[in-house]
Subunit: 120 residues, 2 copies
């Protein structure tokens, strides 16, 4: 049973999955998983202007995946603890539920002596 | 070190995370995690027209998350095994790497007798 209000309210998951749907933003997350870094270091391997990198950083910050802090002229970025887990948990719950269902189906077919690979 | 060509090539992950960034599409995935369903059943709880539901289904199919098959007048949808795991693995790898780094930092501070919560 779908809970319509929960399922359709705009959620943090929308922003989080949207943020991860871009290769430049995933590259920034991959770098930050190794530890905090200044924007200049995040920008170096990316084939785009610094303003574009700042825009991508804004999307990651709006999604709660990254936070940044300016000290003097250097803006340092870091992963926000816990946020990635929410996206991971949503996917894991779907995958687990679906695999459990397949297991039950397999067990049921076993009790009937049916080979699930054969045609019905 | 970022591998630029890998990090920036448009990938299946782009399509997958984009597909999961919409609450209606996540609702469809939540229903399908319980087992295959006809489009009409996926559409029932969603406050949108059938053509809109078909568009969302198209995004899920293009991402390789769902496949559908038409028998007579009924189109039945099902989750594609394995695809969700790829998105989960990407997130898990980042989270694990980041948590491991924090652990190492904590251990290093321990050897110095530094309380990480105190100001430097």
């Amino acid at each position: 049973m779908l809970n319509q209000s929960t399922a359709l309210a705009p959620t943090d998951l929308d922003r989080m999955f949207h943020a991860l749907a871009d290769p430049a933003r995933r590259a920034m997350m991959e770098r930050l998983a190794q530890g905090p870094a200044p924007v200049s270091e995040l920008a170096r391997p990316l084939p785009m202007s610094l303003p574009s990198v700042m825009q991508h950083l804004g999307v990651l910050e709006a999604a709660g995946l990254v936070r940044s802090e300016k000290t003097g002229r250097v803006r340092t970025c870091a992963i926000v603890p816990g946020t990635l887990s929410q996206a991971e948990q949503w996917i894991n719950a779907r995958r687990t539920e679906w695999e459990r269902r397949l297991d039950r189906l397999g067990q049921y077919l076993d009790t009937l002596g049916v080979d699930p690979k054969s045609d019905p």
